[in-house]
Symmetry: none
Subunit: 221 residues, 2 copies
């Protein structure tokens, strides 16, 4: 058994594949390592495929013709993306680039396998589009940050204030409570907090939020 | 046969529905008319469903907490959307609003029907996510316009598009309306338009903009 088989088996469509299809994916998928700072996919590259982050941190961004960059989202361990498979998904009409922000390891189902599977197996097809929907959601979050803000500022302010008030880096509170305090919605707070956690600013555990990096939190204000 | 059955039959998943499922959709889908300027869906509304534009022009936009609007895309005749079905698609974590820009007529498959279908019929599920991918593509186009393009390019793009759509060099619109469409301010649009007029690219007269030199306008794109 290939060492990465266990990851492939977590894909929701795995149980809906024929044995032949499973064999095919197992034979042609590859594990690729990227040193920190290496390009994983650029506008000039050919199509990559479905990527599964085994390790590391992948930054996904857009580049304007003048070279201006917009970070759309990050892919962390166990996250999946298909934006580098634009040749398989014709709705991907925009160019994105992927770079390893940390030393990263990716499991890749190449387009040569993914493309015919998408056409013949409705479960694979549906999954590809669901992954795209996840990324759409990420992008919309970023866009809202850029265009509207300043929700993360407001939440950062709240956390810093609460921490000073309790004279502790651990704050006993809930998303619901924060939402109430800053006049926002619980879902919005949950989303921002998840980002804060992914960025290593805070840690959330059973009704307690712990500030891990107060300095960077203060920089948000 | 209901008059709108022919539209439902064009949906790619129609052939993959059981007779019972078809009957259900036919029984519960509704055709709704919206006068120009009417809200179709707002952040406060409950979930709508899959919408199919039979007639008109629907503007889809986001609103910041301070009331700033960003036009994401328009839905024209025969276009389909699921963004107002956020309760069915958990990736839709952002709020959008829909307004009738012209008198519009929508065929709606309500969420009460759509939600169970998504769970039991993989073809419906896949289609919902494919529609979402189409809208993702639209949004990315808009975002690129906002973040990367210069204002004169954006306005030139708008004028050329509007002219093609109406198949006329005369466009009935106002600075206010253009500003809303390209996500800018009225003053900015007025300034660029004045430049265009001085350069002999366009002529402005009582609510009508006439393109005088389309060739040079196209060179701006």
């Amino acid at each position: 058994m290939k060492e990465y088989q266990k990851y492939l088996e977590t894909l929701p469509f795995w149980k809906d594949l024929s044995n032949k299809e499973k064999e095919n994916i197992l034979s042609f998928s590859i594990v690729q390592k990227y040193d920190k700072g290496t390009f994983i996919h650029t506008q000039d590259d050919t199509c990559l495929g479905l990527i599964y982050v085994l390790k590391g941190d992948v930054r996904v961004y857009m580049v304007s013709e003048e070279g201006k960059e917009i970070t759309l989202y990050h892919l962390l361990k166990n996250e999946i993306d298909v934006l580098s498979a634009s040749c398989v998904v014709n709705q991907i009409t925009f160019d994105t680039e992927l770079i390893a922000k940390e030393d990263s390891e990716l499991l890749i189902i190449p387009v040569t396998i993914l493309s015919p599977l998408k056409d013949t197996n409705i479960y694979v097809r549906s999954y590809i589009y669901e992954v795209l929907a996840d990324r759409f959601s990420d992008v919309m979050w970023t866009i809202q940050q850029i265009l509207f803000l300043k929700m993360d500022q407001r939440i950062a302010t709240y956390l810093v204030d609460a921490s000073s008030q309790d004279n502790s880096l651990s704050i006993k509170t809930t998303h619901e409570e924060i939402a109430q305090e800053i006049n926002s919605a619980r879902e919005v707070v949950a989303r921002v907090m998840k980002h804060f956690q992914n960025d290593g600013l805070i840690e959330m555990k059973r009704g307690t939020i712990t500030i891990l990096d107060k300095k960077r939190l203060l920089q948000l204000l």
